[in-house]
């Protein structure tokens, strides 16, 4: 199936008159290896997501509020890293990762489930009461996601475009601090989104490095600048401090870098000859 996508792409390339220096003679062949590696990366992350979610939901069901709180942010990171692929299954993305303001009745809405519903219970209500059913549903959804992703042929344009999609995620919902509004663990998600985007970019970088030296230098610099800002907020346990500690200056710096990465990474598909 991957071959099918790639042949289509190659055909589209041959028909389009817009060849640029950046494009390899036959980019479909060049993409095979990065795509395979990316699939492996996603599979590792979904496996980890199932494992971590099991521990997290076990803690919730055991009524251990503190343990559940400590597992919330690290569990989410494997989801946030692979969001461009996870989002392909919009039914699961909604039930796993929707936020209260996706619903008219916000936290009280009966359809509000997933990580953020449990986060609301743990932090706002300080209790696991009534969370067992959400925990069961979350674990079932995550396992279903793992199964569906394992059976999925990765569309090349989704993988290549995924780097920019992750930056759009940060720009739209993370930079404002609305993602993890109860736990204030947003910086964990930031970091995971950046890692996911950088992974895609790093896999594709060799394909464009020769022809697009200015571009790769700029993108490399912006990823490094983001890392530098985030490093300041690392906690002793390797995680991150509360979003509330992020200064205005650093938030502006992150915002500018994220938007610029989004602009630049949005050209990756075109640079690789994918429409």
């Amino acid at each position: 199936m991957v071959g099918h996508y790639l042949k289509t792409t190659a055909l589209a390339l041959a028909l389009g008159g817009w060849a640029t220096g950046a494009m390899a003679a036959d980019p479909s062949l060049d993409l095979v290896e990065p795509l395979a590696e990316y699939k492996l990366y996603v599979a590792e992350n979904t496996a980890k997501l199932v494992e971590d979610t099991t521990a997290f939901t076990d803690a919730v069901k055991a009524g251990d509020v503190e343990k559940a709180k400590s597992l919330f942010a690290p569990t989410r990171t494997s989801y946030e890293k692979i969001e461009p692929i996870a989002e392909l299954f919009s039914d699961l993305d909604v039930s796993i990762d929707a936020r209260a303001d996706d619903y008219e009745q916000a936290e009280q809405d009966p359809d509000f489930t997933g990580f953020h519903r449990i986060e609301y219970g743990l932090w706002e209500q300080g209790s696991t009461e009534g969370l067992a059913e959400y925990a069961d549903k979350l674990l079932a959804d995550v396992k279903e996601l793992d199964a569906r992703i394992n059976g999925l042929t990765f569309p090349p344009e989704v993988v290549v475009g995924g780097a920019a999609v992750l930056m759009e995620e940060v720009a739209a919902t993370k930079i404002s601090g609305e993602e993890d509004r109860y736990s204030r663990t947003d910086l964990w998600d930031f970091d995971a989104n950046f890692e996911g985007a950088e992974k895609i970019y790093e896999l594709l970088r060799p394909l464009i490095a020769d022809d697009e030296a200015d571009f790769t230098a700029k993108v490399d610099g912006n990823f490094a600048a983001v890392d530098e800002v985030l490093e300041k907020y690392r906690s002793a346990d390797g995680g991150f401090v509360s979003y509330e500690e992020l200064t205005d200056t650093d938030r502006n710096a992150l915002s500018a870098k994220v938007n610029t990465l989004a602009e630049d990474l949005a050209t990756l598909r075109g640079k690789l000859g994918l429409g």
Binding site: G16, W18, T20, D248, T249, N252, A253, S255, A256, K257, N259, T260, A262, E263, A266, T267, R269, G270, K271, G273, L274, G275
Partner: protein, 434 residues
Amino acid sequence: MNDQGRLSTTRRTLLRQIGLGALGGTIAGSIGIHARAQDAKTAPQVVDAPPGHAETAAQHVPFHGRHQAGILTPRPASGIFAAFDVVVASLDDFERMLRLLTERAAFLTQGGEVPARDPKLPPADSGLLGPVIAPDNLTITLGLGASLFDRHDWLAGLKPARLQRMVQFPNDALDPALCHGDLSLQFCANLPDTNIHALRDIVKNLSEFLVLRWMIEGSVPPVPPAPDGSTPSARNFLGFRDGSANPDANDAALMERVVWTHGPDEPEWAHGGSYQAVRVIRNFVERWDRAPLAEQERIFGRTKMTGAPLDAPRASEYDVPDYAADPDGATTPPDSHIRLANPRTPKSERNLMLRRPFNYSRGVLRNGQLDQGLLFIAYQADLEAGFIAVQNQLNGEPLEEYIKPVGGGYFFALPGAAVGDYLGASLVNAARRS
């Protein structure tokens, strides 16, 4: 940066395109073409673009000059004021930002064709004005806030002498999400879409440097001109003419004194710039509309329909009230808005400023009242002698019952850029020397 030959060709293309658009209306969507081809010219369809005006679309304000455009330029019907936080790590970064901003502003204000790109890449332009950008009287005016100077060592000692962070006045209820900023851009054009397009272009092209902090869109109601082409001052959302007592922007000597920053106590790089005072002033319009007309007029000190001063109600808005003949304020109350703001004494000549406001309407508040008001923008040579002094005179005025300033900020509009130069060059050069 734009050679003349290319520009004029562009402008011809532009006029042709706009002319065609105005005659035939635009047909959107390929399905419609077949169904409507025969009678498209005679029978307008519901989704046809409203007919534009080739003449106003082609209007352009020169970008380059000793002063920035958008200050003395007659105010068109639409404006956006946007404040940004600036992310620059060095003076070199700052210069790159100013050069890029100048390049975009020069292009957008003069108009031209949007460059074509490989369709596999995101387009260079949002496309919302089509393939050819009409200048449409667009001006983009760049200002800098005190926070930018305070944060960067390489700008130390170069802040304009009166530039400061806006402080809360007694009647203010400032919303932090509508205040201050490192950099301001004022967009003014005939049509709101022209401003929106320009803002989006700059947000896209300057993402590396600019983070949008807040913005307000505004408008003023156009009025059919008199036979000599003149129009009165536009009305604000309280229904009064606003700006009647503005100093004459065509009097160059007066503008040198009132609007353009000068003098030995100001850094030399700043000469020819202007302090920009911006205030987001909410109007309690429902309550105002329930106030008796006579009270409204006493509060302002003017006749509502004509704008004439109360001591000469049959005169025009431009007639000067004679306060000497009304020392107790029997006709024009001493605490009326215009008498407090400008008592028309030799001393109050110092406090003149050039107001250039827009009205804004931003939906509905939680209490079900309309969120409407005045996007007050004023330019002056000296911020303290201008806006700050006048606002201090106004504190406690009866109008306060009907208005609530909720945002704004002080900025310094840079001197203009000569052809081939960039906005802020004098500041960057001064910083390199120091």
